[in-house]
Amino acid sequence: MLAYTFKRLLALVPTLLAASVLVFLFVHLIPGDPAAILLGDSATPEDVARLSREMGLDRPIYVQYFIWLGNALQGDFGTSVFFRTPVMEVIAGGAETSILLALLTMVWIILLGIPIGVLSATRHGTWVDQLASGGAMLFASVPTFWLGLYLILIFAVWLGWFPSSGFPSIHDEGGLLNLRYLLLPSMTLAAPNAALIIRLVRASMLDVQREDHVRTARAKGLHPARVAIKHVFRNALISVAAAFGFTFAALISEAVVTETVFSLPGVGRLVVQSILRRDYPVIQGVILVIVCLYMVINLIVDLAYAWLDPRVSLK
């Protein structure tokens, strides 16, 4: 297991390099000269050229890449054109919001997705199942921004139960109670993904339920609930675990929208704003961090998969 993990980590290096090239190049495809944007409308062409030279933008693109990569490997993604502070600090500033939002969202996905999926499968064909499946279908098809706006309208504007936007740090006044700012955003973000997990848990459990070994379990005289959890669900979990990798990818793109709708100071909104500001170093830094995170999450999913299914051997 340890050797396998190490090998997988090594295999991440070429993937990361490829990703870094793509990230670096994509940003240069975006039209607009950052030096010109930074200096504003009144800047003379000489000023723009001077700033370009200072930022290294006049050098050949592959030189720019290697300089950037060399620095990135040391944790230095450069200085934000907009904030004039190191990119790592800018990203760290949004990290608290995004990490807490992601954790809360995962909690919702697991707390809603798994029990409702199990219930739906064990009550297969009844009104409980139809309600759960229909609801899941609805939430899986609703666009994140639309759901977010409606949650704001109902729970923040009409009922006034939760704040509609922003997020003061949990280190600020209010402490953990500030998490209530993330309640609506995390529910918005969780809805389509929990819906996916509900449908997936239900479908895999119904598949496993037909397998011979479940009949063996019932023949032991076990209580139906025990058969459902220990035998059916435990096997269904194998395919559900594989889906969590994809769920995470979906979360990242949906977080961008959600953080924008709820004006959260997170990494997702930072990406959008940085693109609008042509803040190359920040865009590159954030995307590379997300790529790393995504690859680590997928490695964890693979390891979990092998741990859940003894037939998968780690070689």
Partner: protein, 324 residues
């Protein structure tokens, strides 16, 4: 009193809101310590009958429409679910046709055997594990201390069926239902599993209900035999009597279609035509469309069981006629 007494058991499958009868009132008994063989071709209802006895039809599209299943004096069909589960896997246990898929792939075989013990006996986990090792030794699995921690995919088909048997024997059942236990195994392994079942029966005194499509298997292992055709039992007799005087033409056809290695024959005998579809409406004897000596009465009146001898019954208007 018989250990198991099945009376007029009828089973139907729900198809599009309609109940299509598939087992048409079967009755038989299994005596304590004896082996009853139920033989018939695929789709004759023998597996459904065994699943009904074991209580494994619940939640499926299959319904028991009438009859009773008396086990140890209790009617399994009217027993509350909880008391019924207390019997399943304890006094009554079952092994299945497909050893490759009948074990849960994610648990070690020892855990799966122990689960049954922990369900029905007040023992500690360590004691259950000891008992699991003992059971693996009982079913002649080499190195039981090592094998107890194997996953199913690390064992061969024959070994997995031995594990299934160990699991079934975990709580010393009075009745073991074996539904085609050797069909999925190759011939040499088949013989060893059958020998094992016989030896275990001698050691434990349990009764066995053996379901098979293979008359050879039945002949080797059973005290009594019931032959099923299209959801009905068409002939019952002690095994030695049945194999010396087959009264029903279907039984004879079944026997004639077995390949015999020391007899030179060009073609095997086959019973003409096919088994009627489930739920098909048939007047008279269900076998008459395929029977070589059907007469007008056979297509009009369904024959009742006629005694060929005090212990031998056949549902045929002309039992034992023109014996080959």
């Amino acid at each position: 009193m018989a250990l198991l007494e099945v009376k007029d058991l009828a089973i139907a499958v729900a198809v599009g809101g309609q109940l299509v009868p598939v087992v048409h009132g079967v009755s038989f008994t299994v005596e304590a310590g004896k082996t009853l063989g139920i033989v018939g071709e695929s789709g004759c209802g023998k597996s459904l009958t065994s699943l009904a006895i074991m209580g494994l039809l619940e939640g499926s599209q299959v319904r028991i429409t009438s009859g009773s299943i008396l086990f140890d004096g209790q009617d399994m069909l009217t027993l509350p679910a909880e008391r019924r589960r207390a019997i399943m896997g304890a006094d009554m246990a079952m092994i299945f046709q497909e050893p490759m898929t009948s074990l849960n792939p994610v648990y070690r075989v020892g855990e799966q055997i122990a689960e049954s013990i922990l369900q029905h006996r007040k023992v500690s986990k360590a004691q259950a594990r000891e008992r699991a090792i003992e059971l693996l030794r009982l079913v002649r699995i080499p190195d039981p201390e090592g094998r107890v921690d194997s996953f199913p995919h690390q064992l061969s088909g024959g070994m997995r069926q031995r594990v299934m048997i160990a699991m079934a024997l975990a709580c010393d059942p009075k009745l073991l239902i074996a539904d085609e236990p050797t069909t999925a195994l190759d011939v040499t392994v088949q013989a060893r599993i059958l020998d094992l079942l016989k030896e275990l029966q001698d050691e434990t005194g349990m009764a066995i209900m053996l379901i098979s499509h293979d008359l050879g298997v039945i002949a080797e292992t059973c005290d009594d035999v019931a032959v099923m055709y299209w959801g009905k039992i068409i002939e019952t007799a002690p095994a030695d009597e049945l194999f010396s005087t087959m009264a029903h033409p279907y039984t004879r056809g079944l026997m004639a279609s077995i390949p015999v290695s020391d007899r030179e024959v060009e073609r095997l005998e086959a019973i003409p035509s096919r088994v009627p579809m489930l739920g098909e409406k048939l007047d008279g004897c269900a076998f008459h469309p395929r029977c070589g000596r059907a007469r007008p009465i056979c297509s009009d009146i369904d024959p009742v069981a006629i005694a060929v001898s005090p212990s031998h019954f056949a549902r045929c208007h002309f039992p034992g006629e023109d014996q080959a």
